[in-house]
């Protein structure tokens, strides 16, 4: 009624501001409140979930470090014919790249493009100093105080830290690492010499020998670690690189001048093996797909063609298939067992269903390891199941192998994942009024038809949720296959763990993780197309 008058003049609130503005203001306030409430969990999610996962995923394509190690070699390697052993120039490049100090570390800080003709590569830094002249010859930019100042700022800031003794120490260590992080591609080198000398330096005068000595010493350590890491990386391509680099590092110190081809092969005869040189080519690209190829049993060859791994190293495709089939079997097994239980739970009178519910949840409250060990007692060849079978006349000499293989993993995983299937199905069944079934039967449907046409379709959202939940959990499962998997029940998750913890091949582990993630997203997408994600009900 009042609105009819307001069509010409804007509506005003009590204090005279237009209603629209007031409304917007109050809306903004509540929006801010909402953001404020969401912010802490969002921050939590970003810091502890998205950032680490993103970091790990970038590792799966990152091969920049090896380019720091072998800049000269990679700049020249395309000139090699790949059929015979490379010529002197490439041997010289490898020698320079792997010698005690990596000159790229000195140069790189000023955006160097690798030019093999640059005389800087051939500059030899006297091992006992003086260092200034040699370093300036390699990278004249170090002459300017301005290039040292950002590093000094890090040190000065840390030296002004306050607090308990341990906090001061931490601040100093952190600064030493930060300086090295700025100078090198390493996150774990400590530039303690530079830290000390930068603090002594006034920040204006021309950098003197002390600073250059510190720079040399710290970069020497960094170069050593870089070789350590690079050798690990190179060993993925060709087993043997690890000890080759270690040995070369020691022997190269004695090599004063060329011809380098002879000297290198004398230092280690593997430098005369063309396979090692071919392996170098495959690492040239700083963005690599090699980890993804490896996790599918493939690799690059020297001609940049994708080829299969040697036969005895092919293991991942088999593991992917096994993981997929096992997850599928576990999911189907869980579904078959969970459906009747969930139905019973939903239809029994409360006092019975409560007891049943506790039985379902009890394993949830029991330690995973306890449950696995209990299964070992049940399933091993001298275990309860086999003993019972034998007692009923099963031949003693052909006891079933139910543990330490695929079968064992399936059985134990079905039991462990069962609640994930029961609970969503139960929560959906609970909401289906029993009168529907009665109505269907009243109208003449036999019980089986009533079940198929009336009851089951209504439980599908719960079934979908349970299936997705169980399948996704199963596909990345780790601890059960590790303990009971034995010969053929270990899954891709166990390989991820192996590469994260034991071989430290984080690139490969990340690539496998990424493939798993994509696989799950694809399944999710298919589910959405077929069943519709809105239909999923988790409880």
């Amino acid at each position: 009624m009042a609105n009819s008058a307001s069509s010409s003049a804007p509506l005003l609130t009590a204090d005279g501001t237009p209603l629209k503005v007031g409304l917007q203001r109050s809306l903004r306030r509540s929006k801010l409140k909402a953001v404020g409430l969401v912010f802490p969990p969002l921050l939590f999610l970003i810091v502890l979930f998205i950032v680490p996962i993103g970091d790990l995923l970038t590792r799966s394509i990152d091969d920049t470090r090896i380019n720091y190690q072998l800049p000269l070699t990679f700049a020249l390697i395309d000139t090699w014919d790949k059929k015979t052993l490379p010529d002197e120039s490439l041997y010289e490049a490898v020698f320079r790249d792997l010698s005690s100090i990596n000159k790229f570390l000195i140069k790189d800080n000023f955006g160097t493009v690798v030019d093999p003709k640059d005389p800087a590569w051939a500059v030899s830094i006297p091992r006992k100093g003086p260092y200034q002249d040699a370093i300036l010859e390699i990278a004249p930019d170090w002459r300017s105080p301005a290039n040292w100042l950002p590093l000094r700022a890090v040190a000065v800031k840390a030296s002004q830290a306050t607090g308990a003794a341990i906090d001061l120490r931490k601040a100093k260590i952190k600064a030493e690492f930060t300086i090295c992080k700025d100078l090198t591609p390493l996150k774990n080198a400590s530039c303690s010499n530079l830290y000390r000398e930068l603090l002594k330096w006034d920040g204006n005068s021309e950098p003197a020998e002390d600073l250059f000595k510190a720079l040399f010493k710290d970069l020497s350590y960094a170069a050593k670690y870089l070789i350590g890491k690079s050798s690990t990386r190179m060993n993925y391509e060709k087993p043997g690189f690890k000890s080759l680099l270690k040995k070369s590092g020691r022997k190269f110190k004695k090599v004063e001048e060329g011809p380098y081809k002879e000297a290198l092969i004398k230092a280690d005869k593997r430098w005369g093996d063309i396979e090692f040189w071919k392996a170098l080519i495959t690492m040239q690209d700083p963005n690599t797909s090699v980890y993804y190829l490896n996790s599918l049993d493939r690799k690059w060859d020297a001609d940049h063609e994708i080829v299969m791994q040697p036969e005895e190293r092919r293991v991942y495709v088999m593991l992917w298939e096994r993981t997929f089939w096992l997850s599928l079997i576990v999911t189907i097994g869980c579904l078959m067992l969970a459906y009747p239980v969930a139905h019973l739970l939903a239809t029994l009178p409360l006092r019975h269903s409560n007891l049943l519910m506790i039985c379902v949840l009890m394993p949830f409250w029991t330690s995973l390891l306890v449950r696995i060990v209990a299964w070992m007692v049940m399933l091993r060849s001298e275990g309860v199941v086999n003993d019972t079978l034998v007692a009923f006349g099963w031949p003693d000499e052909s006891r079933l192998q139910l543990m330490y293989n695929f079968t064992g993993t399936v059985i134990v995983m079905i039991q462990i994942l069962l609640p994930f299937m029961i609970l969503p199905i139960y929560s959906v069944m609970k909401t289906i009024p029993p009168s529907y079934m009665r109505a269907a039967q009243n109208l003449g449907a036999p019980p089986s038809l009533a079940f198929l046409r009336v009851y089951m379709p209504q439980t599908l959202p719960g079934v979908g949720a349970g299936v997705i939940l169980v399948f996704i959990v199963a596909i990345g499962y780790y601890i059960t296959p590790e303990l009971v998997g034995g010969k053929d029940g270990r899954l891709i998750g166990n390989m991820v763990a192996y590469h994260m913890q034991k071989s430290l091949n984080w690139g490969l582990a990340s690539a496998m993780g990424a493939i798993l993630l994509v696989g799950i997203l694809i399944l999710y997408w298919i589910y959405d197309k077929v069943v519709g994600i809105d239909n999923m009900k988790l409880g």
Binding site: V35, N188, T232, P239, S243, E312, G486, K502, L504
Partner: protein, 365 residues
């Protein structure tokens, strides 16, 4: 509102961090847990004057260490590592390099590094123990067997003469070396043989002969259970697990030292720890001959230092329950008089990944 929330979040984060960091400079040692950590606690921490040694458990590998060092948030100070990790950690700069002259020499003046029974791989590590992969069986398992009881590594790979299943671990270390020794390769030639593709094939061919009789285990307690229950008639296991079962539960296990593969175990200090001084003091204490020997009072892993094993030999019975420990020690002269091999970590550094892939493929075939 947003600012208050942020302040609260920050404040609680700060409080959380403050609570997580111990007040004084305690030294945190990451080790394997269980009876092993207990033996370190008794032999090293309890005998250490200043005290303040905390143990945490970890599952091996350098993943956690790398994460700590690279993020600049180092919460462990010392770590107990396997031979491969001892080398990788030092090469890649995850461990501090330690001065060598500060460590306690043996009673006869031999420096610590010369007192160790294997070559010291680098300046980052100090000696801990030797442990070994070794075959064992249960008394009575071969009663009535025509060939009697097994005694050599060849017997382990002979299911015709010594019937029953075999327990193997799910990775290749020691197994392929043992396969070659069982196939007649002398211990000193094992790694030369493995350096050729034919040598590796030969090892796997030997493994093929028992493939259908193998039960694979992955946790150190499993082989004891497998042998005890009769699931397998013989298994490989860590010697310390067998020793613990024999000494504490009186389990009737028999160890066949022939063909054992000895592995090293080192302590190292993590790069960038703010407690470096305290940690070094503790390392000096823990690596002294008396403490090295002392650990064997509690567990049947053996000191790496010759002087340590000499202290034990001179003072038997050494174990805390008053029984002789040397018969259960992998590097006592009795065990070393039989065919044995010190695992070569540098060979494994080169070939570990390819062997691991091949072994996994072999298991699943």
């Amino acid at each position: 509102m947003r600012q208050t929330l942020m302040k609260t979040t920050l404040a609680s984060a700060v409080i959380g961090a403050a609570l997580a960091v111990p007040a004084q400079a305690d030294v945190t040692v990451a080790s394997w847990g269980g009876a092993y950590t207990m033996s370190q606690q008794k032999a090293y921490a309890d005998t250490y004057g200043p005290g303040g040694i905390n143990f945490v458990n970890y599952n091996g590998g350098l993943g956690e260490v790398r994460a700590q060092v690279e993020s600049g948030n180092v919460t462990w100070d010392i770590i107990d590592v396997l031979p491969h990790e001892a080398r990788v950690g030092c090469d890649e700069g995850l461990f501090e390099e330690l001065p060598r002259d500060v460590f306690t020499p043996a009673a006869d003046g031999t420096s610590m590094d010369d007192d160790i029974m294997v070559e010291v791989p680098n300046d980052c590590v100090v000696p801990q123990i030797f442990w070994s992969y070794v075959p064992f069986w249960q008394e009575g398992a071969f009663d009535g067997n025509a060939a009697g009881n097994p005694s050599t590594i060849a017997d382990f790979f002979d299911v015709a003469k010594f019937p029953g299943k075999r327990g193997l671990h799910t990775w290749g270390n020691a197994t392929i070396e043992m396969a070659l020794m069982a196939d007649g390769v002398a211990p000193e030639d094992v790694y030369d043989t493995l350096n050729t593709p034919e040598g590796v094939d030969r090892a796997f061919a030997k493994l093929d002969t028992i493939k259908d009789h193998v039960v694979f285990w992955s946790a150190g307690a499993e082989p004891l259970e497998l042998v005890k229950s009769g699931e397998v008639s013989m298994s490989l296991a860590y010697n310390g697990r067998i020793g613990a079962a024999v000494l504490s539960e009186g389990a009737p296990f028999v160890t066949n030292w022939d063909g054992q593969v000895l592995e090293e175990e080192w302590l190292a200090m993590i790069k960038g720890t703010p407690n470096a001084d305290e940690a070094l003091k503790f390392l000096i204490h823990a690596s002294a001959p008396e403490q090295q020997a002392g650990q064997a009072k509690w567990i049947t892993y053996a000191p790496m230092r010759k002087s340590g094993i000499e202290i034990i030999a001179a003072n038997e019975p050494w174990f805390n329950t008053g029984v002789d420990i040397l018969p259960l020690m992998p590097n006592a002269s009795e065990a070393l008089s039989q065919k044995h091999l010190f695992a070569d970590p540098s060979w494994w550094s080169d070939n570990g990944d390819s062997i691991s892939e091949r072994f996994t493929a072999w298991m699943g075939q």
